[in-house]
């Protein structure tokens, strides 16, 4: 208990996040009763949050590095469209090669394509020193331009049944897509805390010049991280397709904003180097809880946006105030020491 308190004391944004999480839970129990948290609601929430969570992980990694990936949703859409084309037999006859191989090919293409897109981001940012905002903004235009061009804005649906099953099926009452999200989360959190590249990400995010002078290959790490961010987009694209049985190039336009908000809310510093992935996961839950609550309260999607934006500002404000207070305290402590 003491350890937890100590830990929370160090990370004020995490305290806020937890408080917020509990407050929403309580508020929901008060207005809808505890039976709101039955298996069905929980499962439906788990379905919805999986894709957002995976995208948010990708975004959080880039932000840890001091960058940002504005193209993450565009990559997800492009990957899902291309693999949807395979699934629906645009490129070859699905009857002839059978369902399993078709699905396998579609999954492989989605993953490879998204990693490639992420890698291109990484190359533009590291090898040509384009600032991440501008670089991923440009590739966003480019990737969604391809998606828009090849589909003309139409959606592609009607996938094989076993693929849809992945999106809507459950194992022991837990949605399969949620299990995928959890696995991704565990792998990433282990990698961040315990591998060389995980440490290097934190170093680069904090001070990329110093990391260069310390023998960390910034360019390689940047390319890897943006590729991983692409991979996250690829996984999310498969979840989206399987869940909604459709792919469309404008899908999830609001996700872009949401995943950035989730990352900041989850305690990832927008200037890089600081933050924990589990905060991001909790923030995703928070958001999903709120989404559900808002739907039950019949809020318009716009008021949701308002609340999200306000929250983001408030969190940043609290972070700033807290930092200033700490600084003042330090100066006072020092002056006291000198006076003695």
């Amino acid at each position: 208990m003491k350890k937890i308190r100590e830990y929370l004391g160090r990370d004020i944004s995490m305290v806020i996040l937890f408080g917020f999480f509990l407050a929403i839970c309580l508020l929901m129990i008060v207005s809808f009763g505890t039976n709101m948290f039955n298996g069905t609601t929980l499962a439906s929430m788990a379905f919805q949050l999986s894709e957002v969570a995976v995208l948010a992980f990708g975004m959080a990694l880039c932000m840890l590095l001091g960058g940002i990936d504005l193209s993450i949703v565009a990559i997800a859409n492009l990957a899902s469209l291309v693999s949807a084309m395979i699934l629906t037999g645009r490129f070859f006859d699905t009857e002839k090669i059978g369902q399993p191989i078709t699905i396998l090919a579609a999954v492989a293409v989605a993953i490879l394509l998204s990693v490639l897109c992420g890698f291109i981001n990484g190359v533009i940012i590291s090898k040509f020193s384009v600032s991440p905002i501008v670089a991923t903004l440009s590739t966003m235009t480019f990737y969604s331009g391809i998606a828009m061009g090849i589909t003309g804005g139409n959606s592609i649906g009607g996938y094989p049944s076993s693929f849809i099953k992945f999106g809507n099926g459950m194992i022991a009452g837990i949605p399969m897509v949620f299990i995928v999200a959890v696995i991704v989360f565990v792998v990433l959190i282990l990698a961040l805390d315990h591998t060389k590249i995980g440490h290097e990400i934190h170093y680069i995010g904090e001070n990329h010049t110093a990391s260069r002078f310390t023998g960390i290959d910034n360019e390689k790490v940047i390319m890897k991280v943006y590729s991983i961010s692409g991979l996250m987009a690829g996984i999310a694209s498969l979840i989206i397709m399987a869940r909604s049985d459709s792919a469309r190039c404008g899908y999830g336009d609001t996700y872009q904003l949401q995943v950035i908000m989730i990352s900041v809310l989850g305690g990832i510093s927008p200037s890089g180097g600081k933050g924990r992935l589990y905060g991001v996961f909790i923030a995703t839950f928070c958001m999903q809880l709120m989404q559900t609550a808002f739907t039950l309260w019949q809020f318009s999607p716009y008021s949701k946006k308002l609340i999200w934006g306000m929250m983001l500002l408030v969190i940043m404000l609290i972070n700033m105030v807290q930092e200033r207070v700490a600084q003042q305290a330090k100066i006072r402590e020092m002056q006291a020491k000198r006076a003695v």
């Binding site: 940002i68 504005l70 533009i124 940012i125 590291s126 090898k127 040509f128 020193s129 384009v130 600032s131 905002i133 501008v134 670089a135 903004l137 440009s138 590739t139 966003m140 235009t141 480019f142 990737y143 969604s144 331009g145 391809i146 828009m148 061009g149 589909t151 003309g152 804005g153 990329h208 010049t209 260069r212 910034n218 360019e219 940047i222 336009d253 904003l257 950035i260 908000m261 900041v264 927008p270 200037s271 318009s300 716009y302 008021s303 949701k304 946006k305 308002l306 609340i307 999200w308 934006g309 306000m310 983001l312 500002l313 940043m316 404000l317 700033m320």
Partner: protein, 335 residues
């Protein structure tokens, strides 16, 4: 030739691309090289041109803003609803309300940036949702059909500055939208090149600390810059509403990226300190050329973003790479 030498490489590059594109398209389709195309281009690009001036100014000062579409629609739509509710038919009042809202929201952005000292991108991203959400709650999201628009909007939408007849005998005209566009561009040019504040904007973007040391109040400057961008967004909001047939207040959000893309293509440095109005205009022209005329090449307008993306990537990569080589020489590592 002298003029050619005065513009920078990015602008030369854009001029060449635009010329080549025009030549290719007009060879494919004779209908392209008509006044109709030009007039359509002016009308449809009016809003983006105005917004791009605001983005340019902010970018030169070393910032970025993604909230301006929300500001524009907040201003324009609120102004529309007020005019409808009170039966106001004065064009002046319409603009005044919209601009006032724009200024207030812009200044709020600047105040937040000054206070929180964080990336303007993150802050304006959040204010964009806040503004938009606030508007939908305060004013609503009701669609307004073209026939329901107050008279001044209808007038603005249909009034022509010059009219002429086309080859088929129909009447075509240059929309009055050109007036606010020219006013905004000239005002921005004047601000950037002929005023002390303009020097301050460039100075701030080059080196914020040095600008402060030189005696500029950078916080005040930032408030001015975002306020100015708010004014432009306010003007654009009214024009946008007049320009579309059925006003759906949700539609404008999401266009911020394409406007920023135009400005970046135009050669403005994303890290600040450099940017040209002519370049930005070329960026907007290119965007709308793709938007309006891909169809003449037998491609659907859906491919617009694809071509935009290619030009954008090419332009950012070439400029950033040159800067990187220079930085490397001074042992600045910017990856």
């Amino acid at each position: 030739m002298k003029i050619w030498k005065k513009v920078d490489k990015t602008q030369q590059f854009l001029c060449v691309i635009i010329l080549v594109y025009i030549i290719v398209v007009s060879m494919r389709n004779a209908q392209f090289l008509t006044l109709t195309t030009l007039f359509n281009l002016v009308r449809s690009s009016a809003g983006t041109t105005i917004l791009s001036m605001g983005v340019l100014v902010i970018m030169i000062a070393g910032g970025i803003d993604v909230s301006f579409p929300a500001v524009a629609i907040f201003g324009g739509y609120t102004s529309l609803r007020i005019c409808m509710a009170y039966g106001i038919e004065s064009l002046f009042v319409t603009f005044a309300i919209s601009i006032l809202i724009g200024v207030v929201l812009g200044v709020v952005n600047a105040l937040l940036i000054n206070m929180l000292k964080l990336e303007p991108f993150i802050i304006t991203l959040s204010t964009a949702s806040v503004y938009f959400g606030l508007m939908t709650i305060l004013v609503g999201t009701k669609n307004v059909g073209a026939s329901d628009l107050p008279a001044q909007f209808k007038m603005l939408s249909s009034a022509k500055l010059i009219t002429t007849t086309n080859a088929y005998g129909g009447t075509i005209g240059l929309s009055v939208f050109i007036i606010p566009v020219v006013l905004c561009v000239v005002a921005t040019w004047f601000l950037l090149n002929k005023t002390l504040i303009g020097k301050g904007i460039f100075a701030m973007g080059c080196n914020n600390e040095a600008a402060r040391r030189a005696g500029f109040n950078v916080n005040l400057l930032r408030i001015f810059i975002f306020g100015y961008s708010g004014v432009l967004a306010g003007i654009m909001g009214v024009i946008y509403i007049a320009g579309t047939n059925s006003v759906n207040p949700v539609s404008l959000v999401g266009t911020e990226m394409s406007v920023i893309a135009c400005v970046v293509i135009g050669g403005a440095a994303p890290q600040g300190g450099y940017g040209k109005i002519f370049g930005t205009l070329l960026g907007v022209i290119l965007y709308y050329l793709f938007n309006q005329t891909l169809i003449y090449l037998g491609l659907s307008a859906s491919w617009q973003d694809f071509f935009m993306g290619i030009v954008l990537l090419f332009s950012i990569i070439s400029t950033s790479y040159q800067r990187r080589l220079k930085d490397r020489k001074n042992f600045i590592f910017t990856e």
